[in-house]
């Protein structure tokens, strides 16, 4: 699925209930993160749920695995990964993630005060783009 397709899918959903159900579904479809990665080095701090992010690099492209113990957060992570996976560091830096979340209608989840890990996760991805 592309980001545009995702935005389109969300556009069909009128109520927050449907959006949240779809988010939960997206999270359920994510490939499971091996238990060995659910450890402190991969944990994203500053979240009210546990969030893990594992980067890797293939040629000049970054890949990410992620997971959370909270279902809605996991769905949000799947969107973040869809946005950032398989991109070069400079492409990662160029992404207007706020705009994408606004189009999906989930912008409030990127607010720093939410502390659901999403904002911290995006910061971490951008940090990896700098150092990897």
């Amino acid at each position: 699925m592309t980001i545009d397709e995702l935005i389109e899918n969300f556009a069909f959903l009128d109520t927050w209930e449907d959006k949240y159900r779809y988010l939960i579904e997206l999270g359920e479809k994510m490939p499971p993160l091996p238990e060995s990665y659910k450890t402190a080095p991969w944990q994203v701090k500053g979240c009210q749920s546990q969030v893990w992010l594992v980067p890797s690099k293939e040629e000049d492209r970054l890949h990410f695995l992620g997971d959370s113990d909270a279902a809605i957060v996991k769905g949000l992570i799947s969107i973040v990964l869809l946005i950032y996976d398989n991109k070069s560091p400079s492409e990662i830096k160029a992404v207007a993630v706020d705009d994408i979340f606004a189009k999906i209608g989930l912008k409030e989840h990127l607010s720093p005060s939410r502390r659901n890990g999403l904002e911290a996760m995006v910061a971490k991805i951008r940090q990896y783009a700098d150092i990897l």
Binding site: W16, Y20, Q48, N116
Partner: protein, 404 residues
Amino acid sequence: MYDVNKIREDFPIFALSINGKPNTFLDSAASAQKPKIVIDKMNDMYLHEYANVHRGSYLLSEEITLAFEQARETVQKFVNASSSSEIVFTRSATESINLVAASWGRKFIKSGDEVLISEAEHHANLVPWQVLRDEIGFKLNICRVNDDGSFDMEDFRKKLSSKTKLVAITGMSNVLGTIFPLKQIISLAHAGGAKILVDACQLAVHQNIDVKDLDCDFLAFSGHKTYGPTGIGILYGKYELLDSMPPYQCGGDMVDIVTYEHTTFDVPPARFEAGTPAIVEAIGLAEALKYLMQIGQDNITNHENELTAYTLEQFSQIKGLHQVGTAQGKGGVFSFVVDDIHPQDLAFILDKEGVAVRVGHHCAAPLVKRMGHSSVARASLGLYNTKEDIDILVKAINKAKTFF
């Protein structure tokens, strides 16, 4: 007659809807909403009566100095202290506890002594003692709570020794809602020769505080939880104790004679209020406390007890909901988990229904872990909450269950 609907009208924020739903605010244990009289009073001070305190020899400064010192008297009355000189204005309850640790603790606790706290302390009454322990080398003992969240008196007696210099303990747990048997704890502590600091952050909101009756040595609470502004906290200390303590921070307004070579310090409470204080916040807090005293703390306690019983009854009927902290006589703080729902997911859905609860470890991470969780949801009551609020919460929890 306690008319909760009339009380709600005193709080402008409840006129606002949240996500198109009634504002069901159940997070007063984190911070309480403010009655309009507090907001108006603070605005009025800034608009018409503002100047610095304790400095100017002009009308505005004299007037606001008077209002500031009257605020101290209001706090004195609120906690029933012997003198307003026993009331120190701080930035927060956290600062109040840090003040005692840094000033009294550093002077009077020696290597080989012991400090006793409970498992139910939030970080503000745990971390300052850990840091001081690492500096001085005393032993920090932690007495247990039982699995239902009640205070384990036997363990407390066991851990209290002739070496215990200080017992620092909460009056009411911000996670479990347990009301600790303070009078018994304090008399045991004193019998063993220890001083006692009460963290009354939650207790001061829900029950009458009488420091003379309790006979505690120090007591801390915050302004923003007692329906007052942020940025102001209270430290009560027995005067002879405060007088024996060195300054905490140094600067203006806390000194006696200053030369380039040497400085002597003012008497309490000025000694502990270096620099320009949170003047308008102190006056705002006094307004909030007057509001509470006018309604009558006992009336508030009765209302909240009734609502607590109702909440416990409603929660017991939600299948898959497990309460964390079920001690007898607990106050209006309800931590819980629901089978198959992460507290964070639950909070997202409750928010969409206009219901504010807090999730996480509630700045008491070791306690939440000790109760067997990494994260819990918490609903907490204020004097403005109603049975309808609880009904909306219960309905929203049941709705959340359909998602997972």
